[in-house]
């Protein structure tokens, strides 16, 4: 509020300065003329108020006019004051020189006043109590000593008064000029405020007018009354100052001062008695009270209003700020909520994605597991152990697989391979390849035929894929190994102090060349030797060359031809793989044809018709290894086969069971025992009659012992051809 007022004031004063600038001499001249005229009129009014014949004037308005004019229009208006003062003083001065000197004094006093006021930073709005103090003590009382001294001095010098009269003349001059300033200057200074400050409402105007009338009336009545009632005016001045500040108080004070001074000049009421000095003293005291009361009160109220307005402004600004801050906070809060919401959404999305990834991994792992053989078929004459170790990484379920296929002719098909890539699709492709390989192997187990079939399947997959695979056929009877290898790490054959990687029979991986040529190679598996099949995960590790892995496999397997194949697999995994950090899937198969028996034969097989050939093969191998001749071999095989077939046919109903074949040879006495744990059903009519007939015809002695816990068929034969 205050700065605003200040701005308005400075704008208005600079406007006035512009108006009166030298670049507009006409306006300057006009201002001079108006000031001179006003000064002169003010002087004429002042003279009518003189207590003693135009000499002792208790209120000299021109001084106030000059001070106000200099404050409003600038000090360069002084010529108007000098000229007007000269004009006023000429008729009442003794000489021309006296009039000129007096005029100079009358000009100097307001100039000094304005200079002093400028020094102390006086504001013509008179809205601070220091402005009131400034104009009273500097603008009026101090400055007017100049005009009083010059004027009274001139009077004495020109012999208009005696030296004795000088002090009282000085005092009258001084008080007159000071009162002129105090009464008139505020009034003049308040006039521009009507344009600068907010306009009064009609009610205000009415109030202002009422105060003026009441003040004038009260003063006029009190001043004409013998009773001392002049103090009654003071509440009115307080009212004016309180309600309207300078714009109400200054006019009221002027009116009151004028009326009272006029009354004093006419010696009415309180001024009817007493000496000139008493009259003068009373009047000036009253006028001083009026001026001080109205000025100070107006200034104080202005200040208070401004403070209140500033306080209100500050309060409203504070409120604004609080509201702004609140809005900011609530916006920030909103943003925060939004962010939290977005973050939780992202979190949810992430966990959904995570769940999807985990789910896919689970599916791939399940698929992988389900696609691998759930059990290794029992192949007579061959010990087989297999391991599959999934990678420990999250999505690293791979396309590694192995398979052990029991072939119809009693041989065993072995496959180990790797579908390039990881995850669901690799596992799924692996499943297809594995099943296809099984199907081809059963149809025609020849390695080249099987590999050609798998090659066609891989070539016709919707997505191109690379597959490495080794396919082998092992005949346990002859211990011959036939195989072909499509880009897979070579099988290891070890035993008897030797280790060999079977690196022949190699062709590129499947899915790489359109028309590959597969070659079949045949190896003899020495008695007691072990074949190790594996995928690259076993020998390939980060920062370790494959050759190093292959060498380690040789070292770790060497000398272990005596240990069980299951124990061998576990040892190899423990020695070569960090179980907690498996980078790639590992498939591992260890195969060992049974060593020539040096004792009884023990066979335990599922009681299924397709197992009969396996039983015969194992028994044939045992008989041959035991040195039994071909003639005896055929008869024993048939008799034993019949016993086994009977188990398959009769021992078990729907539930699967086992058949056990036990053979011993003591000298030339051969005993074969076939045992089941089932309950025999009535013999079916499928050649049933001939089974026992054949056994009895082929063996020397056949003993069938049927109990509730199963049946034992014991057959003995003295070998015709002896043993080799």
């Amino acid at each position: 509020m205050a700065p605003e007022t200040g701005q308005t004031a400075s704008r208005s004063s600079s406007g006035a300065a512009a108006l009166l600038s030298r670049r507009e001499p006409v306006a300057y001249a006009a201002a001079l003329l108006v000031l001179a005229a006003t000064y002169y009129i003010g002087a004429r009014v002042g003279l009518t108020l003189s207590l003693v014949e135009q000499n002792v004037t208790p209120l000299w308005p021109p001084t106030g006019i000059a001070v106000a004019a200099f404050l409003l229009g600038g000090r360069r208006l002084w010529p108007a004051v000098t000229l007007a003062a000269f004009a006023v003083n000429l008729p009442i001065s003794a000489t021309l020189v006296a009039a000129a000197v007096t005029a100079v004094g009358n000009t100097l006093a307001p100039l000094v006043a304005v200079v002093l006021l400028d020094r102390v930073g006086f504001r013509r709005q008179l809205d601070r109590h220091r402005d009131a103090l400034s104009i009273v003590f500097l603008g009026a009382l101090a400055s007017m000593t100049v005009s009083a001294t010059v004027g009274a001095g001139t009077l004495a010098a020109s012999d208009a008064i005696t030296t004795d009269q000088l002090p009282s003349a000085w005092a009258v001059w001084w008080t007159g000029d000071a009162m002129g300033v105090l009464a008139v200057a505020p009034f003049l200074l308040c006039l521009p405020l009507f344009g600068e400050l907010p306009d009064w409402s009609p009610a205000r105007w009415l109030e202002g007018a009422s105060i003026l009338v009441l003040a004038a009336g009260t003063t006029a009545w009190a001043a004409s009354s013998d009773v001392q009632m002049l103090f009654l005016v003071l509440p009115l001045l307080g009212w004016a100052a309180w309600r309207l500040q300078l714009r109400g108080a200054a006019p009221a004070a002027l009116v009151v001062s004028l009326v009272v001074t006029w009354s004093a000049a006419r010696e009415h009421g309180p001024f009817a008695h007493g000496t000139l000095f008493e009259q003068m003293f009373t009047l000036q005291s009253f006028n001083a009270c009026v001026a001080l009361t109205s000025l100070f009160l107006a200034a104080l109220v202005s200040e208070r209003n401004r403070s209140a307005a500033e306080l209100a402004g500050a309060a409203s600004e504070l409120e604004d700020r609080v509201q702004r801050r609140t809005a900011e906070l609530s916006a920030a809060n909103q943003r925060l909520l939004q962010e939290i919401h977005e973050r939780s959404e992202a979190q949810e999305q992430l966990s959904q994605e995570e769940a999807r990834t985990r789910r896919e991994h689970e599916i791939a792992a399940t698929l992988q597991r389900s696609l691998l053989p759930d059990r290794i078929p029992q192949v007579p004459g061959v010990a087989v152990a297999a391991r599959y170790v999934p990678a420990t990484g999250d999505m690293s379920v791979g396309g590694d697989w192995y398979d052990v296929i029991q072939l119809p002719d009693g041989a065993v098909g072995l496959a180990i391979g790797d579908v390039a890539g990881h995850g669901l699709s690799a596992a799924a492709t692996m499943g297809q390849v594995r099943m296809a390989l099984r199907a081809y192997a059963v149809q025609d187990p020849s390695p080249v035929a099987v590999m050609t079939g798998v090659h066609h399947l891989v070539s016709n997959l919707p997505t191109s894929v690379m597959v490495t695979v080794t396919y082998l056929v092992l005949d346990p009877g002859t211990r011959t190994l036939r195989f072909t290898n499509a880009g897979h790490p070579p099988p290891l054959l070890f035993g008897g102090g030797e280790s060999t990687y079977l690196e022949d029979g190699l062709s590129p991986p499947l899915g790489v060349t359109p028309d590959p040529t597969f070659t079949e190679v045949t190896h003899e598996v020495p008695a007691g030797a072990t074949l190790v099949l594996y995928t690259d995960g076993l020998v390939e590790r980060r920062r370790v060359s494959i050759q190093e892995g292959l060498d380690r496999l040789v070292v770790e397997s060497a000398g272990r031809e005596g240990s069980d194949v299951d124990v061998l697999c576990d040892h190899l995994l423990t020695a070569l793989v960090d179980r907690d950090n498996v980078a790639d899937d590992i498939a591992l198969v260890a195969v060992r044809p049974a060593a020539p028996v040096d004792g009884p034969l023990e066979l335990v097989l599922p009681a299924e018709s397709r197992m009969l050939v396996q039983a015969r093969r194992a028994l044939r191998q045992w008989l041959r290894d035991s040195g039994v001749t071909a003639e005896d071999e055929g008869d024993v095989l048939l008799a034993s086969g019949e016993a086994c077939a009977n188990v398959v046919r009769h021992a078990y109903a729907a539930a699967p069971g086992e058949m056990r074949l036990h053979a011993t040879l003591h000298g030339d006495d051969l005993e074969v025992t076939v045992i089941d744990t089932g309950q025999w059903r009535a013999p079916a009519d499928r050649g049933g009659g001939w089974g026992l007939q054949l056994m009895q015809g082929l063996m020397d002695d056949v003993d069938v012992d049927r109990t509730a816990r199963g049946t034992v068929v014991r057959m003995r034969r003295r070998l015709r051809g002896g043993t080799a």
């Binding site: 119809p408 002719d409 059963v442 149809q443 025609d444 187990p445 020849s446 018709s609 397709r610 009969l612 050939v613 015969r616 071909a630 071999e633 055929g634 008869d635 095989l637 048939l638 086969g641 019949e642 077939a645 398959v648 046919r649 499928r686 050649g687 049933g688 001939w690 089974g691 007939q693 054949l694 015809g697 082929l698």
Partner: protein, 113 residues
């Protein structure tokens, strides 16, 4: 090699149009006897008067196989067709044929004529 036993027609001289010769190689047991019978039946034209099954290459023949051959002979008899077997004297299956007296029902030759 694809099966435990394989049934194949043998080429003829052309002198006996009414005779069909099939050879069975491999092993015949409970697990594949019926398949072998079906294979023989499928390979036998209805107009053939005589079927010769050469078992020279058969390594194993159990009671289920014997029963199958009996039934085959019986079935062919209904259609006025004859079944002959060829089993060398030193064949491992000769004992089974002897013990079950199969040779009393079906003509068994030591060798192809």
């Amino acid at each position: 090699m694809s099966e435990l036993a394989r049934v194949e027609p043998l080429p003829q001289d052309g002198s006996a149009d009414h005779t069909v010769v099939l050879s069975v190689t491999g092993e015949i047991d409970l697990s594949n006897a019926e398949q072998v019978r079906d294979a023989i039946g499928a390979a036998l034209p209805v107009e053939a008067a005589v079927l010769v099954v050469d078992l020279s290459g058969t390594q194993y023949l159990d009671s289920a196989g014997i029963a199958m051959l009996f039934r085959l002979a019986e079935r062919l008899g209904w259609s006025r067709q004859e079944l002959h077997l060829v089993v060398p004297p030193d064949a491992p299956i000769r004992a089974a044929i002897r013990i079950t007296h199969l040779d009393t029902v079906i003509t068994v030759h030591d060798a192809l004529a």
